[in-house]
């Protein structure tokens, strides 16, 4: 097919001009994908960056993945014979299940970005004690982010332990009864100074108590600032009943589930738990968009639809296979486009639409 050859040619030329360096390249397993499948072949091994780049030039893959794991013999098969040495801790955050379809809308991209920031700033750094230097945030090249954690304390963990970490970040298996209950005469709960979900929950409740509507939902007595302050001083010591609250267990339990739902992260548990996962190679191109899966330094400022675009502004004529909504690239609005319509667009948009199989070369 003409389009496939066109894209493969562009990718291969790009890699020739922009060689990729891979840390510990000899210990990683590689996989390549093509027009129909993201991974068509795997169990590949390259001793040096040069060997890898030669393969990219010759085979012109549309997707390049490498293992999150380190192996003694990355090309050995089956899995058990590879000599597993450890695995980076990885997280996959994706806007896939947000309902905007093939062309992810800006609010969805923003949402998944916020989830990524939350994972790092509210979980990995404060709770897991991971240093920012050991975290690599990589744009997936499409809609989401991959977070790679290189901290050696997590490298040797097996599947179940990783699933437990993912469950923690996702708030799975958390239960109200473990945080609240009678202790002697006291109705005890978490203090804001505590680590984990307990502390997060207490801090959030104290913050929300500034809102009068919220305070009076708990109890009308809390409308008074004086009572509110007393209530908060109690929470600070883990005492949740300085002010009497009717049906408190019921109310706190409901609040707990709601708040924890918001505090936790929307991540793909199976990716984190998979210790032989192939994940997109940082700095490689995504065959479904033509954008680069680049490490992100400042995620707050990162705009995938501008910063992950590598192809030129050279005009290319295309014909649409299907309707496409308005698309913003590098700050310029294009479209919307109608099925069967033709247009002359910059190369990076042509690549994007062709990779998404929404257009063909005219």
């Amino acid at each position: 097919m003409r389009e496939e050859g066109y894209i493969r040619g562009l990718f291969s030329y790009y890699y020739e001009k922009n060689p990729i360096h891979v840390d510990e390249v000899g210990k990683r397993e590689f996989g390549f994908g093509g027009w129909d499948k993201k991974i068509e072949s795997r169990h590949m091994h390259f001793s040096t960056d040069t060997e890898l780049m030669r393969a990219l030039k010759n085979e012109r893959p549309l997707y390049v993945s490498r293992s999150a794991a380190y192996y003694e013999f990355p090309d050995a098969r089956p899995m058990e014979r590879k000599g597993w040495l450890g695995c980076d801790l990885i997280f996959d955050l994706d806007a896939e299940h947000h309902a905007c379809g093939k062309f992810t809308c800006p609010p969805c991209l923003q949402k998944v970005k916020n989830e990524t920031i939350k994972l790092i700033e509210d979980f990995l750094m404060p709770d897991f004690g991971v240093s920012r230097n050991d975290i690599n945030i990589v744009f997936s090249g499409s809609r989401g982010y991959h977070v790679h954690v290189f901290d050696r304390a997590y490298r040797k963990l097996w599947k179940d332990e990783r699933r437990e970490i993912a469950d923690y970040a996702g708030g799975t298996g958390i239960s109200y009864e473990h945080f609240f209950g009678k202790r002697g005469k006291l109705f005890s709960g978490p203090a804001p100074s505590e680590g984990g979900y307990g502390g997060k929950f207490a801090r959030e409740v104290i913050k929300r108590l500034e809102n009068e509507e919220f305070a009076s939902y708990l109890s009308t007595k809390l409308k008074k600032k004086e009572n509110r302050d007393m209530f908060i001083r109690g929470i600070e010591k883990g005492d949740w009943e300085r002010v009497h609250i009717a049906k408190k267990d019921e109310k706190f339990a409901k609040l707990f589930n709601e708040i924890v739902g918001g505090l936790s992260c929307d991540i793909d548990v199976n990716v984190t738990a998979d210790i032989s996962k192939l994940i997109r190679l940082p700095f490689s191109l995504h065959g479904g968009t033509g954008m680069i899966a680049a490490p992100v330094k400042d995620i707050d400022k990162f705009d995938p639809m501008a910063d992950a675009i590598v192809f030129s502004d050279r005009p290319v004529s295309i014909r649409m296979n299907e309707d496409a909504p308005k698309i913003t690239m590098k700050g310029v609005d294009y479209g919307p486009y109608k099925k069967e319509g033709t247009a002359e667009v910059p190369e990076h948009l042509a690549v994007y639409l062709i990779c998404k199989k929404a257009a063909i070369l005219e």
Binding site: F128, E164, D167, Y168, G173, G195
Partner: protein, 302 residues
């Protein structure tokens, strides 16, 4: 060298150092003590604490551990090795409960648990925490890579680490002297005849979570309480005979037929509801995205 410490925790490097430096030989008295230790562990699931703590008695106690381990090793059964490891770990844990922080810390370090203040580094915690809802990481205080725990919880984690350490020690094959082989034959003769090895449940349509539990059980894994309860409820609900369930549980390393029978009867009498899939997930027992709401309905559909 702290001899009492070594006798309480004979699996430590310190105790090993003692054995080497004392030049203790596997004489008749030590083998006899070892045989008794192995029998207690394998038959009763429990190794009693020491009586008197005279120096000579302590030395024999330490050596009896080494002998018992060789006896169990030469029986070449994973089930028996795991059962032995559970009993040793429980014995260590019973001592730890009356220790000060310093010795708890010391034993922890020997088995790869580095206590920091009141906590345990999360990586180590994940390796050794029992798989039970109260140990689920999301329900714990986690800060700066350390999981905050009460003393009894720290000891429980160390107990698990001791068990795994002893199980792993069995992987190292050593030459077995004739006297040990003979002792091992005597211990084997004292065990109930029936071999708790592979057996079929005659039911292949279990949902993935239940199949996993049965598989783990057959591999003589030490399932946590919640997992056992869930499995018991499930099997009772699908109408399995009490004796068949008891037999299934017989590969648990700490199996006791009477206790199991009583508990299964109790489950049947109380007619507990089978936990839903979301509860199973929160127990950490859900293993697959099979799309059911309850393990019981999963079976019917399949």
């Amino acid at each position: 060298m702290d001899l009492l410490f070594c006798a309480k925790y004979p699996f430590t490097e310190e105790a090993k150092g003692y054995i080497v430096s004392s030049g203790a030989k596997l004489d008749y008295g030590i083998i006899e003590k070892g045989e008794e230790r192995a029998k207690n562990a394998l038959l009763k699931g429990k190794i009693p604490q020491m009586g008197v703590a005279l120096e000579k008695a302590l030395g024999i106690e330490i050596a009896s551990y080494a002998a018992a381990r060789m006896i169990v090793l030469s029986m070449r059964s994973r089930f028996l090795m795991n059962r032995y490891a559970v009993a040793e770990a429980k014995r260590a844990s019973s001592y730890l409960r009356s220790e000060g922080d310093e010795n708890v810390k010391k034993v922890g370090e020997e088995v790869g648990v580095h206590i920091k203040g009141d906590g345990i580094p999360v990586g180590e915690y994940l390796l050794f925490a029992p798989k039970a809802v109260e140990y689920k990481l999301a329900n714990k205080g986690l800060r700066d890579g350390t999981v905050l725990l009460a003393k009894n919880e720290r000891i429980r984690v160390i107990e698990e680490a001791v068990r795994k350490r002893i199980e792993r020690l069995f992987e190292k094959k050593v030459p077995i002297p004739k006297e040990i082989e003979e002792a091992s034959e005597r211990v084997r003769a004292s065990l109930p005849k029936e071999k708790p090895a592979e057996r079929q449940t005659g039911e292949k349509n279990f949902p993935p979570c239940i199949a996993k539990l049965i598989e783990d059980l057959k591999m003589s894994e030490n399932l946590p309480h919640t997992a056992r309860w869930v499995l018991g409820v499930y099997l009772a609900k699908v109408g399995m005979e009490t004796e068949a369930i008891v037999e299934l549980f017989s590969s648990a390393p700490d199996f006791n037929a009477e206790t199991t029978r009583y508990q299964i009867e109790h489950i049947k009498k109380r007619d507990y509801t089978m936990p839903s899939c979301s509860t199973m997930e929160s127990y950490g027992l859900c293993v697959s995205n099979c799309g059911c709401r309850n393990p019981l309905s999963c079976r019917v559909r399949r």
